[in-house]
């Protein structure tokens, strides 16, 4: 007779992890950091035609402390980059980041003095949804990929360091 050895309780912990993953993926509280044109497609995806509520992601939380997924929607300029970093830092673990639109993935076609060439130089990103702007079907595809990632409980990608131009 002894105490229960926690390390031998693999069956329960895997089932518990699976349950937590299932619960987390269907209750996504997003923080929509909307700046530009992609915001219109974000609004269209969130509304009746291409409903995002059926995936459990229908309630935007406008405070970083209450949200767990940061949707970065639209071009990020160098002026607002510190604000984005601050919002990301204020979010509590576990948190995920979705780069919505090609301006956030790589900078889009705005290769100039004012645009951040991809937000993955500032904050780590989990799902990239390219498109200018992406169709709502693309957004839902990205959301499902994010849900798969959340369910598995994978760790976030590290900050991507762009290779130096040669």
């Amino acid at each position: 007779m002894g105490t229960v050895d926690i390390t031998k309780l693999d069956f329960f912990t895997t089932k518990l992890d699976a349950a937590i993953g299932w619960a987390r993926k269907f209750s996504i509280f997003q923080y929509p950091f909307v700046t530009a044109c992609c915001g219109m497609e974000y609004m269209a995806t969130a509304c009746s035609h291409y409903d995002v509520d059926r995936f459990g992601a229908g309630l935007p939380r406008f405070s970083p402390r209450q949200a767990d997924v940061l949707f970065v929607v639209g071009t990020i300029s160098h002026k607002i980059a510190p604000v984005l970093k601050q919002v990301y830092d204020q979010m509590t673990e576990p948190k995920w980041v979705v780069a919505f639109g090609v301006c956030t993935c790589t900078g889009g076609f705005y290769d100039n003095y004012a645009t951040v060439m991809g937000i993955d130089t500032i904050i780590p990103v989990d799902v990239y949804i390219p498109g200018c702007p992406p169709r709502p079907e693309n957004v839902l595809d990205g959301l499902i990929k994010l849900q798969v990632k959340i369910e598995k409980g994978e760790k976030q990608t590290k900050l991507f360091v762009h290779p130096k131009p040669s």
């Binding site: 909307v34 609004m43 200018c132």
Partner: protein, 452 residues
């Protein structure tokens, strides 16, 4: 705290200070990134300052980098809720600089698409500002109506939002077959949705109380700030570029310009609702007057599919292509050769030839080469031109300077909501904290246009 209590007991007064509150760049109002710093005395606003530039994407510098037609996708993203109006404005400015005339059918098509864009802009503005006041259903209805209109836009241009439809000298493709039959039921739906929203909002006690008498601006102030558009028309000045300096074919349509007296938020809402109805009237009249129409295709020989023509042409087997008609892919509807002269100006040095000519005969290929290859392209003479169109927020002006080369030397956009944002701090002072949201919503600030 004890000292404060003593002071109040002693003198009956207490010294207060104002609070500086930062309605930060990332905020729940749906209109874009802007920072408003307000100075509050309790709930009353005693000072305000707006800081913009969080979406500055260098539009004017990017336009100087590529040839003239390359600037069109950048103009799409200026006022991204009514992108067709920006495209048309830029192309008209370059055409004015070149000194060419577009065909009549192209003008009618541009008018139709501009008015549909204007309706989507007003739908988004009213929907978003109603949602910020708590009327979430209105937002869903408006977005539903906007989706129907976006389906129309997609049938014509191929994309929902960033369409790049207009070109210098014409438009990309003609209207598809059966477009007129698609428009009529869509407008019927939009009208019924607008009627429902009207029932929900216009005489709603809560909505009216929050919007009436809030954000008032006088006529003289609005003119002095340079404000145009629905904001100005709600104060009583009837300035609309379509009526005062008609461009395209607006002088042939019978439409009204809604004006309100008062200059507060409720008037701006009513002006926008009425303008949507007038836009639908214009589109219906345009369909009855448009020249050209469904083109009867002559069967001068056998019909061949387009990709067959391209493949054969690339291998040099172009004998007889000039006499054959080409069946295009349904997604490229409206771009076939017989519709081309209807919608594009007859200038071979400015407009690309139809693909049947490019692949079919040597003259078409040379014309195409001379417009597309690096080193060639549209070359307007040295000069400058300013063209104003009526955007959804006011007068959208494009000032283009050329130095004779194939790239624009300077492209300047006069953003319609820039002067309105200039006036915003003056509108907020004296009101309450909760009035910031409806006033800011009725400004319809689009960050892409404000910051470029």
């Amino acid at each position: 705290m004890e000292k404060l209590a003593e002071e109040i007991q002693r003198t009956g007064k207490a010294e207060t200070r104002t609070l500086l509150l930062n309605v930060g760049p990332s905020h729940p109002a749906m209109h874009g990134v802007i920072r408003i710093v307000v100075e509050l005395d309790g709930e009353t606003v005693t000072g305000a300052d707006a800081e913009i530039g969080y979406l500055h994407r260098g539009f004017e510098k990017m336009c100087e980098v590529g040839p003239y037609n390359n600037a069109i996708p950048y103009t799409d993203r200026l006022n991204y809720v009514s992108p067709l109006i920006n495209n048309v404005g830029y192309c008209m400015a370059v055409e004015k600089l070149l000194g060419i005339e577009t065909t009549e059918r192209c003008d009618y098509i541009r008018v139709i698409m501009s008015e549909i864009s204007r309706i989507t802009d007003h739908l988004t503005c009213i929907g978003a500002s109603a949602m910020e006041l708590g009327a979430f259903t209105v937002f869903l209805y408006m977005i539903k109506a906007r989706e129907f209109l976006w389906e129309l836009v997609e049938a014509v241009t191929g994309a929902r939002l960033t369409i790049s439809y207009s070109r210098v000298g014409g438009v990309k493709a003609d209207l598809p077959e059966g477009f007129k039959e698609k428009v009529a039921p869509t407008f019927k739906e939009v009208r019924s949705i607008l009627k429902e929203v009207d029932k929900l909002l216009t005489r709603n006690r809560i909505f009216v109380d929050r919007m009436k008498g809030v954000g008032v601006i006088s006529k003289e102030d609005a003119v002095s700030y340079g404000i145009t558009g629905p904001f100005l028309r709600a104060t009583g000045v009837d300035y609309d570029v379509r009526r005062s300096q008609p461009y395209l074919v607006y002088d042939q349509f019978d439409f009204d310009i809604p004006i309100a007296e008062g200059g507060d938020n409720l008037d701006r809402y009513l002006v926008r609702m009425e303008e949507m109805e007038q836009s639908m009237r214009i589109v219906e009249q345009a369909f009855s007057k448009i020249p050209g129409g469904a083109v009867m295709v002559d069967e001068r020989g056998n019909e061949i599919p387009a990709d067959f023509m391209v493949d054969e042409a690339k291998m040099g087997r172009t004998a007889g292509f000039k006499q054959k008609t080409v069946r295009m892919d349904p997604t490229l509807e409206g771009t076939s050769g017989d519709r081309h002269p209807l919608i594009n100006a007859p200038e071979k040095k400015i407009v690309l030839p139809p693909k049947e000519d490019t692949y079919g005969n040597i003259e078409g290929l040379m014309d195409h080469f001379k417009l597309v290859m690096v080193g060639h392209g549209i070359r307007p003479p040295k000069g400058e031109a300013y063209q104003a169109v009526e955007g959804a927020n006011g007068e959208l002006g494009f000032y283009v300077v050329s130095n004779g080369s194939d790239r624009p030397y300077r492209v300047r956009v006069r953003p319609p909501c820039f002067p309105i944002m200039n006036a915003l701090p003056a509108l907020l002072i004296g009101g309450m904290m909760a009035d910031i949201v409806p006033t800011f919503g009725s400004v319809n600030m689009i960050a892409g246009e404000l910051d470029r």
